[in-house]
Amino acid sequence: MTKYLILPHLEVSRANALAAGGIISLVPAMAASLMGTAFSLRTGIIVEGVMLIHHSAELLADKHLDKYSTDQDYWLLSMKGATLFDGIDAAGKPTGNTLGSNASQPNAHMNGHWSIVFKLAPNQAETPDGIIERDAATFLLHGARLAGGQIVDYGAPVVTDEMPGIMGQSTPVEEGKPIAPSVLEKTVHGGFVLTDDTHTLNEPDSTKGRTERLLLAALGRPDKSTHQGPKSEFDSESESEIKTKIAETSRHRWVSPAVLGYGLVSPLSENQGSRENCLHALCEPLIGLVELQSIRQAIKKKINFNDLFWSPTWITDDTFLITQPNHCYEV
């Protein structure tokens, strides 16, 4: 039986928001997926997929309205000497008691509040009850990080074999009675799950460039023409139906770019300085689009939550992607 490990309400401090050049995104989908791999390595429990649930994220920056363009200007809170610091990093010369000014490298940080669900591989060796939760807690307690940010607080991990929307799992609901909330809802109390929306960029005949398509999708405002809808359509409907329809059409879509893969740009080679003595290559981030959907809306739409787990794949020898089961890419 497939089990799911829910790590609820991870409060992360100073996570990396600059995962790709030119874009600051507050969706650490790749980092969450790689956290699943790190969990597997440390505990020996194989993680098949990772679901990231967004609660809140805040860029560490001051912002004010640009008086000319009505756009926002951000002044990032800079962190000097982000990771490494020695004499070479000093930009200025030491004078008197001071060590000289420190060089600042490009960085952007965010404080975030996410929940993560690991889909554990089925038929793993039977473990006594509670051992997975304890391992998870130990894993988190030992200074784990998400997207480079320190996890400063988290809820009690929960293991369940139930996920909303999976056929055969839902208990029969009596007519007129509210649906009992799932373990996931009870544990995380709502949030936003990520759906891969990158396939919408695939419009080969479009006159717009790839970059423009992505920016318009992520920055674009909801189409007002669809808000009101034709009046005649509502004539025979009840008030509640009309309200539901209006709410559905005017719903704001939360769409954001996110790093969903890496493409190697140099051949894999042995290098003395490589991490863990692995083969090393240079790569570039592959930026995709994700849509954030409310958990309750997803349950209402009867989305199978097994389709919301990201799993890592090498679609070619030099292209690494995290994908969801219903969005597979072929080169």
Binding site: G22, S25, S56, T70, W75, I88, A108, A247, S269
Partner: protein
């Protein structure tokens, strides 16, 4: 610039000779505009040798990706794309952009950047040869054939015809590495580098968008425009996407050109922070949805009511003498207190309506024992005489139990209302229709 190479027979020429003022022009002399400043051209001694030097320089130091833009203190290194790297995926990256450009057959490639600056072969000269004169003050003039050789090599490299990678061994410690899992349980270490072409495209698009907005705002200031035209322009402005950009990201320290000629495009990344955030209001809406409304009586109202009660009491008395006159005088105080509960219910209703899409339906508090009580607070149509009786009693009890502080003996200081008083207050609320 070329001043370092300018040896011997240097020859100066003006690209904008025709634009210069003639002697017959009587208008007063003006300072030349920046774009009209003539470019000083010099010629090298041996053009063929110089062109070869440039080609060797391009192959050694011009790449699509560079370490330096991530950490200016890292040893130089980077990678150049090849045609085999072209990737047909919907994602945005240098490799997918290369695939797009190769498929169109326009001959356009991906911009290259230097990984190490060489003052003897400045990038401004290359830009000038590629047809961009903006910001160039002087350049080396090469014969057409040699110049074309250099330009052709650059363009071939940008199209991915000369793939290469320059990775120092051992890898500099300032270069970050990620471990990615392979299928066989092994890992590979990768160093993510940003694509300057992607950043350049984003920067270009946002700059154009900003300029469009600026133009519209300029047109709006035009007093000759009619109100209709202005509302059209305002609508146009409203429909354009809004975005936020970082004012200044430190790439290469204070000077981006220290680490790359294109590095400046990375200094203003676009911020996508339009995501759900847990706000106080949202938390309050969820609190109401699960627990119902938690009514409170503002302290200032209780203080005024206390002052009124003091007036009704004789000196040293704890209880008041209640006649019809006092009961009538009490009503405005009770009206304000009951009004505060009505306002709280109104605010709760508004919050529930605003966050309806995020809240579960039906609202979870309806399952509780006093769920119907809160439902009636949120929906006036559900209020019954029985409900009114109960709520009036609850409000009177809340006043009776209200704590004004703790006395020296550690006892709660209350308004000194007894059960008779609460009965009177509840009766007043019902008969005068205060709720």
């Amino acid at each position: 610039m070329s001043r370092d190479n300018a040896q011997g027979n240097s020859q100066q020429a003006s690209l904008f000779a025709n634009d210069q003022k003639t002697a017959t022009d009587n208008s007063p002399a003006k300072a030349p505009k920046v774009k009209d400043v003539p470019i000083e051209l010099t010629q090298p001694d041996n053009p063929a040798e110089f062109a070869h030097e440039w080609m060797r320089h391009l192959q050694a130091l011009y790449f699509h990706y560079s370490f330096k833009v991530v950490n200016s203190k890292a040893k130089e290194g980077g990678a150049r794309l090849g045609k085999a790297h072209a990737l047909k995926l919907p994602h945005l990256s240098g490799r997918t952009l290369l695939a797009d450009r190769l498929s169109t057959g326009s001959g356009e490639g991906i911009e290259l950047d230097y990984i190490k600056q060489d003052t003897t072969k400045p990038v401004g000269v290359l830009r000038y040869w590629l047809g961009d004169t903006a910001g160039v003050k002087s350049a080396v003039e090469l014969p057409v054939r040699e110049r074309q050789q250099v330009v052709d090599l650059y363009q071939a490299m940008s199209r991915g015809e000369l793939p290469d990678a320059q990775v120092p061994n051992p890898l500099p410690i300032r270069v970050k590495q990620l471990l990615l899992p392979r299928e066989n349980g092994e890992f590979v270490s990768v160093t993510p580098l940003p694509s300057l072409q992607v950043a350049s495209d984003i920067s270009h698009y946002c700059r154009e968008l900003s300029n469009t907005k600026f133009d519209i705002r300029k047109q709006l200031k035009d007093t000759k425009r009619t109100n209709e035209e202005k509302s059209e322009l305002l609508q146009k402005l409203e429909d354009l996407p809004r975005f936020g950009m970082v004012k200044k990201l430190p790439v290469g320290g204070a000077k981006p050109n220290n680490v790359g000629s294109k590095a400046f495009v990375l200094t203003r990344p676009v911020v996508f922070d339009n995501l759900p955030q847990s706000s106080k209001e949202q938390r309050a809406a969820f609190g109401i949805a699960y627990n119902g409304v938690r009514f409170y009586i503002p302290k200032v109202l209780v203080q005024h009511y206390e002052a009124f009660l003091e007036k009704t009491r004789g000196t040293g008395e704890r209880t008041s003498i209640w006649g019809a006159k006092n009961v009538e005088a009490e009503i405005p105080y009770l009206k304000v207190i009951a009004g505060s509960w009505i306002n709280q219910a109104g605010r709760a209703r508004k919050l529930i309506e605003q966050h309806a899409s995020e809240l579960p339906t039906p609202l979870p508090f309806t399952d509780k024992t006093d769920g119907s009580r809160f439902e009636a607070w949120l929906n006036p149509a559900l209020r019954s005489p029985n409900w009114l009786k109960k709520e009036a009693r609850t409000l009177a009890k809340a006043l009776q139990n209200y704590s004004l502080g703790i006395n020296e003996q550690g006892q709660n200081l209350t308004l000194g209302l007894d059960d008779t008083d609460t009965g009177r207050i509840a009766h007043s609320i019902i008969t005068w229709g205060l709720l």
